[in-house]
Symmetry: C2
Subunit: 142 residues, 2 copies
């Protein structure tokens, strides 16, 4: 009996994660759509914003995609002047990627939607719940 109850709880947890993630991505998705961009562009903007001067290899690492999959959207972002690339000071083969002012604006807009969503949930629940949330997701992400 106890075991059945736990299974039901774990099923609930699976659905919670599924629906929460869907809710979490579709705000930004709608903004991106208006510019003809996709979720990949958002991920690129996000990680360049967070880790300034990241290299192409570095991006490939965090995103866990092939360089061919990265290349097209990254090129578009550079062409749209949302991202700037400079050769590395030590190793000129390595590109240093960073957001332009307009890239930062877009990134902030997208990420802002997600931050507000999380912040509302955190504020409604309180600091203890937030800490628990972080510990558990950290363990799942690990």
């Amino acid at each position: 009996m106890v075991d059945l109850k736990r299974r039901a709880e774990l099923h609930e947890a699976i659905e919670l994660l599924y629906f929460a993630y869907r809710g979490f991505t579709d705000g930004p998705d709608r903004i991106l759509e208006r510019r003809g961009l996709g979720r990949t562009h958002h991920r690129i903007l996000y990680f360049i914003g967070r880790r300034r001067d990241i290299s192409v290899q570095g991006l490939l690492g965090v995103l866990a995609v092939s360089k061919q999959a990265l290349n097209a959207p990254l090129r578009q972002l550079i062409e749209m002047k949302l991202v700037a690339a400079a050769p590395g000071p030590q190793d000129r083969r390595v590109k240093q990627l960073r957001l332009t002012a307009e890239g930062q604006r877009l990134e902030s807009e997208l990420t802002g939607v997600q931050m507000r969503l999380l912040e509302r949930a955190f504020d409604a629940a309180g600091a203890a719940d937030e800490a628990g949330w972080r510990r558990i997701l950290g363990s799942v992400a690990g």
Copy 2:
């Protein structure tokens, strides 16, 4: 200053959710790949398993995809005898979908991977953290 700190925490939270979700899906994805199935098949199997006798419309509702997107993978699952469809007893237009014994086996295998992942995280963190995790994700899922 306080505001900057909060921003940093919210950025961390975003990444936590991103990486956790990725970790959460790639166990099942690898199992599915060996059978030539994708994440869509998993979602179908999952929701039929959870809501026995769900209709095609019902599935379309929870999955939030077009019927054309659902049709092909659902048909494959029926052809592979992982899912069975019977006409509804009241309304014969409505299909009642359920898992076959083999469908249940596969669904349990896939979902089991995710349940174990979550259970380890819950057990490591304790009941209070788990409750906080649920409240916050519930709020994000809306």
